[in-house]
Every structure is written in C-alpha cells, then in structure tokens.
C-alpha cells in the first residue's frame, strides 16, 4: 500500500512538473519550423533590415500567419513566395532573385575575383621580363625582422 502511495505521489509530482513547464507557442512544431524557414526569406517591409521571422511588427505577425495558413492548405514554398511577390514585388525577397537584371550582382564578385587574380599574375610575369636596373637594390633588414638576402 505504501509503495502504491509513493508511486501515485511521485507520478503526481512528475505530471505536476510537466503542467508547469510552458508549452510551445506553436501548435505544430514541424509546420512552424517550415514557416520560419520561409519567413527568413521574406523582408519585413516596415522594419530596418529584418526578416518577418525576426520582426515583432504587426505586419510581420500577420504575414507569418498568412504563411501558416498557406502551408496548412498544402502550398509549396515557391507558391508562398510567389504569393508575396505578387503583392509586394521583388523587394519583399530578402535574397535577391536571379534575373537578367541581377546577373551583375550575383556574378560580379566571381568575375572580379578571377579578373583580379589573373591581373596580378600577368603583372607579376611582366615584372620578371623587365631588366634589373628598373628595380630597387635588395634591402638588408625587412620589417619582420628578417634578413632579406
């Protein structure tokens, strides 16, 4: 009998602890996670440089709910993003889209990198072909404390 009482008491304690632990704000964590992933791709239009995932603004809260509603209806990520750009334009995308007008944006850095490194190599090779008198004589003491022979 004593053991039964202890067992009942213990289980009450355990359930009591669960009752006090705050429930997740989201009813469906999997849907919520998917919504947040999409929300991180959408810009909050009333904030300074935040996504609707991070923002506390009213519009962000409303749009997050819209995304939840759409996901529950079975829409795909692309359909949700299209819904938003249909109403707010490309500006609402936090990641710039890949279009003809943004090729320079996306490929620019790569082109600059290749161009820069190529330019460096060509310049250095040009130097090896120059005559010695155009160069300064070798120094004895480099700034790293090494002897530059």
């Amino acid at each position: 009998m004593r053991k039964l009482c202890t067992l009942v008491l213990l289980s009450l304690l355990v359930f009591g602890a669960f009752a006090k632990d705050a429930p997740n704000a989201a009813a469906d964590p999997a849907l919520e996670a998917r919504m947040m992933r999409i929300a991180q791709e959408l810009r909050c239009l009333v904030c300074q440089n935040q996504t609707i995932a991070d923002s506390h603004a009213d519009l962000a809260v409303d749009l997050r709910e819209e995304v939840r509603v759409m996901l529950r209806k079975g829409e795909s990520d692309e359909q949700v993003l299209k819904y938003m750009t249909d109403r707010y334009g490309d500006f609402v995308l936090y990641r710039p889209p890949m279009k003809a007008t943004t090729w320079l944006l996306w490929f620019g850095p790569g082109v600059l990198l290749v161009g820069g490194l190529l330019g460096l190599i060509l310049l250095l090779r040009k130097r090896t072909r120059m005559s010695d008198d155009r160069f300064e004589p070798d120094e004895v003491d480099g700034l790293e404390g090494e002897v530059r022979s």
Binding site: A25, F91, T102, G108, P109, L113, M130, F135
Partner: protein, 364 residues
C-alpha cells in the same frame, strides 16, 4: 496594436552632408593617389612564389571582398535610379558572396607568415605546416562533436578557426627555436619578437576568435517560442527560466509592461532578466526591449512577444553560444593593428629620412 504608419518623406539634408564629407575625404585620397602613385618605383624583385606574392594576393582578395560589399549595397540604388525595378539586398547575398572570399584569405593567413621573402619553396612550406593541418582537422571535427552535432557550415568555420591558431602556434614555435647567433632561452626569443610581428599574430587570433563565434552562434544557437503565464517555467540548454512576475513600469518617456524572469542552472541562480514591452509616449508604436545576460561562453536573451488570452505572453528565449567572441575577435584585430602600427621601426625609418627632426628616443 499598431502597424506601420507612412510618415512624410525623410529630409535629405543629412544625407547630403555625409555625401559631401565622403566626396572630400575619399575624393581627396584618390586625387592624391592619382597625383603621387605614378612616381612610385617598382620596388625590389621577387619570385612568383614568395611572401610578397602572397601579400599581394591577399590584397586582391580584400579588394574584391570590399567591392562585392559595395556592389551589394549600391545595387538596389542602381536599379531604382535606372528605373529597372526595386530589389532588396541583405544578409543572404553578403553571406553567399563574402564567405567564399574569406576562405582563401584565411588560408593565406596561415601560409603567408611562414613564407620566405623573395622566394619560397612550396614543398618546404607544406612540410612545416603538416602538423598544423592535422591538428586543424582533428580540432574542427572534435569541436563539432562536442557541441552536439557536426555540420558542413560549422566545420568550415572551425577549420578556419583552428587553421589560424595552429599556424600562429607553428610560427611562434619556429621563432623560439635556437638559432645561430642569438644566445637566449625560449622566453628571451619570445621577447625578441618585433612588435609588428606580435601585432600580426594577435590580429590573426582575433580573426580566429571571430570565426569561432560566428560558427558557434549560427549553428548551435537555441531558440524557444513559448506561451508563458506568470508562474510558468521553461528550459533551454540546461538553463531554467521561471516567469516570476509581470508589472507595469514608467520610464522617462515611455510606459512599459515588464516581465521578471529568474534564470537558474542546476538549481543555482544565474541572473534575473527584465524584458519589457514599451510604448513611447510620442511615437506610440510598441517597442520590444529584450533582456540580455552576456557571458564569456554564451549570451542569454529573453524578449516578450505578444500577449495572448488568459494573461499569458508569447516569450522568446535564446541561448547564443560564444556570441561575444565575435566582438572580442574584432577587439583583438584592432589591438593587433595598434600593436603593429606602433612598432618603433616605422618611426625610426621616418627619422632616418628626415634628419631635421631631432628626437631623444633611443635607436631601435
């Protein structure tokens, strides 16, 4: 509850002032460059594979990274001014573009200091860095495993972190080795290191700390959105958050609802956090004032979201590991720069070039 209100257009006068300032400072610098740069000679000769080339490659990488950030920042303006639509460029662009540029920079950060001036042999470098490579890979994977899971992004970040640390260690190790002509123990040799060199090593370690902080926070940050009424508890990453009370407070120019959150770990009190939802009397839009507990290994962050029925609130709780290492890393970089810039040899060189300046400073 308030949404955004479209106010009248912002005054461009502040922008014009800043633009004029930039035009004078940067324009002046570039004009100086256009005038004086043609007079600078070619310097001394060096091989294609040398420390000089690595420094130049490093410069190219930094310039490309800078131009990429400039491109991303100005692109929306460019398109808008040309009437070609309105896009927005934010962190997804900069992360995609900046990180791949920084990887070779970090690689050079390890190799460069060990390379010899004028001509360096790659096989020699590889041999000297063998140990560093092994330690880097093992440490990166071990850190990910200890943190809970190994991901590609975090591993890349840790590889960058430990590569720098291992390379710095290798450099220092080589310098304290007994070498001909200098009679001193390893402590003595350490003290002999020029300040510019110490500055470089400190700055590099700053980059390592930065990379570590970023990798940790981006991958292992924990967030919970919970519905809490007064008296509720929630647990994140071993920290227990107890919502003790909610009260109204008056600020100098605002009124707020303030939550009192007691944070404990293993039963021992850690901190009391006071997140607020403020309504400023003039602006009238509710502002969220998060409560942060900074720490060496983690930041704790609590904010009040929206109130829900029954007197409860949506509360956001974050545990951000090592996030302050990002700022610490930047401080180290600045310190390293200051150390390098104050190396006496820079000033001595200047004195030698201008004999008219008489000082009483000792020779370096």
């Amino acid at each position: 509850m308030l949404s955004s209100v479209h106010a009248f257009a912002t005054d461009p006068r502040r922008g014009l002032f800043i633009l004029a300032f930039l035009a004078i400072v940067i324009g002046g610098s570039l004009a100086l460059y256009a005038w004086r740069a043609p007079k600078i000679g070619l310097g001394s000769r060096f091989e294609l594979v040398s420390r000089e080339t690595m420094l130049l490659a490093n410069n190219v990488l930094f310039v490309v990274a800078m131009l990429s950030v400039l491109l991303g920042t100005l692109y929306p303006l460019l398109l808008d001014a040309l009437g070609m639509g309105k896009i927005s460029v934010g962190p997804p662009y900069f992360d995609t573009v900046f990180v791949p540029l920084m990887v070779p920079v970090v690689f050079l950060m390890g190799v460069g200091p060990l390379a010899r001036w004028k001509k360096t042999e790659l096989p020699d470098l590889a041999k000297r860095l063998k140990w560093a490579v092994v330690v880097t890979v093992i440490a990166a994977l071990a850190t990910g495993w200890l943190a809970g899971r190994i991901t590609a992004g975090a591993t890349l970040g840790f590889l960058m972190t430990f590569w720098i640390v291992a390379a710095v260690a290798t450099d220092v190790w080589e310098r304290v080795q007994p070498a001909g002509g200098v009679r001193a123990g390893w402590v003595g040799r350490l003290a002999l290191m020029p300040r510019a060199m110490v500055g470089m090593l400190v700055a590099h370690l700053g980059v390592a700390a930065f990379a570590f902080g970023v990798s940790m926070v981006n991958t292992y940050e924990l967030e919970r959105d919970v519905k809490m009424a007064v008296g509720d508890t929630t647990e994140v990453s071993g920290y227990t958050f107890f919502f003790r009370e909610l009260k109204n407070v008056q600020g100098p120019n605002y009124e707020a609802v303030q939550g009192l959150m007691e944070v404990t770990r293993n039963g021992k009190p850690v901190v009391v956090l006071l997140p607020e939802k403020r309504v400023y009397r003039v602006q009238k839009n509710p502002m969220t004032e998060a409560a942060i507990d900074p720490g060496f290994t983690r930041d704790l962050y609590v904010s009040l979201g929206e109130p829900v029925d029954g007197g409860a609130w949506i509360v956001r709780v974050y545990v951000k590991p090592f996030v302050d290492w990002i700022w610490g890393g930047c401080l180290l970089m600045a310190l390293g720069g200051a150390l390098a810039a104050t190396d006496r040899r820079y000033r001595v060189k200047q004195k030698q070039e201008s004999p008219a300046t008489v000082t009483s400073g000792a020779q370096a």
